[in-house]
Homo-oligomer: 204 residues x 2
């Protein structure tokens, strides 16, 4: 099995979305496999005493400009969602249900599902807090929506997300996207080029 | 006169230091003149309701690793100072005294002084809150230390710093380094490469 890039994200994070659109090319270049780790920034922010970026005076206004500018630079569709931020718990659980599934065919759809949900929220203005919307997105990828929606209420799936969040906090993760490459932590979409150089050079 | 890159910084900001070591090459590449704007992050953080990066749970520990790693990548000497952060008010006033001076020979030493003070703090472990230390650094650049120390107490110099901080807040500046290029704002050392591309492409 290839070595990994551990990609921690919340579906409500604009910079995690932007990074998700570029990380596969970096992973492919270095023969790395991406492991998707959906987490809840709300839980993480309680520990790290932070508030959503857009709610910080001055910094919030700048961040909106920065999201759009960074998206334009890389040709990524971006429409700042309203409402924002949102509770991504159902989307996170759906992702973990796929990622941890014993059925390899379902398992293999995890990456496509992550992209589909991110784009639905940040490019297409869809309400990804709505399980029926998530069901429709699943159907578009030939994932059985009824099974997926049922899974969202299962204790094992709820536990999987709780464990992801607890593990993330234990690893010192305080934001998104947060990437771990061979135990080296990198926070932020603006670290992607640095990760690329890090992998090329074997660190420094 | 060349067009400018407006460089807002606090001498207590690690990322402003790292950016100060790289911005001249970018400015030279695009025939830009750097205008140094020392500001007090403490005053800015009151408006933007922030605390120093290193004091944020989880994020603080990561930031120390990130400072050192970013410095190593670019071959910049870095020893995280103790105590940190510090009150840079005297160093800021000294910089503005030089930058605004009617004597062009003194004026021309502004950039060298900024580098010298930054390196004294972040590479050489010197206490740049001490006006005698600043005086010694000034002397090393053939700047008259007695005149400089006297200037630190002058109302016009104090006012100059107050105005810089007020203007920065009015411009929406909430952190350091903060760079403005043709009215386009960029926050963070990790935006330097983006500024370089922005200037090469004339924006996007």
């Amino acid at each position: 099995m290839n070595k990994t890039i551990e990609f921690y994200f919340d579906f409500s994070s604009p910079f995690a979305y932007l990074a998700s659109e570029r990380i596969e090319a970096i992973a492919a270049k270095h023969n790395r496999q991406i492991v998707w780790h959906p987490i809840l920034l709300g839980a993480v922010f309680k520990i790290s005493q932070q508030v959503p970026l857009t709610q910080i005076p001055l910094k919030g206004d700048y961040s909106l400009r920065d999201f759009a500018r960074s998206a334009r630079e890389h040709g990524i569709a971006y429409n700042h969602p309203d409402p924002f931020p949102i509770a991504s718990i159902s989307a996170c659980r759906a992702t973990l249900w796929l990622r941890n599934h014993s059925d390899e065919a379902l398992n293999a759809k995890t990456t496509e599902f992550v992209h589909t949900v991110f784009r639905a929220f940040f490019a297409q203005g869809k309400d990804i807090t709505d399980v029926d919307v998530l069901g429709t997105l699943a159907t578009s990828l030939d994932i059985d929506a009824v099974s997926m929606k049922a899974a969202l209420g299962e204790q094992s799936v709820k536990d999987a997300l709780r464990v992801e969040v607890e593990n993330a906090i234990a690893l010192g993760i305080f934001g998104a996207p947060f990437l771990i490459v061979d135990d080296e932590p990198f926070w932020g979409n603006d670290r992607l080029d640095q990760i690329d150089r890090w992998l090329s050079q074997g660190g420094w």
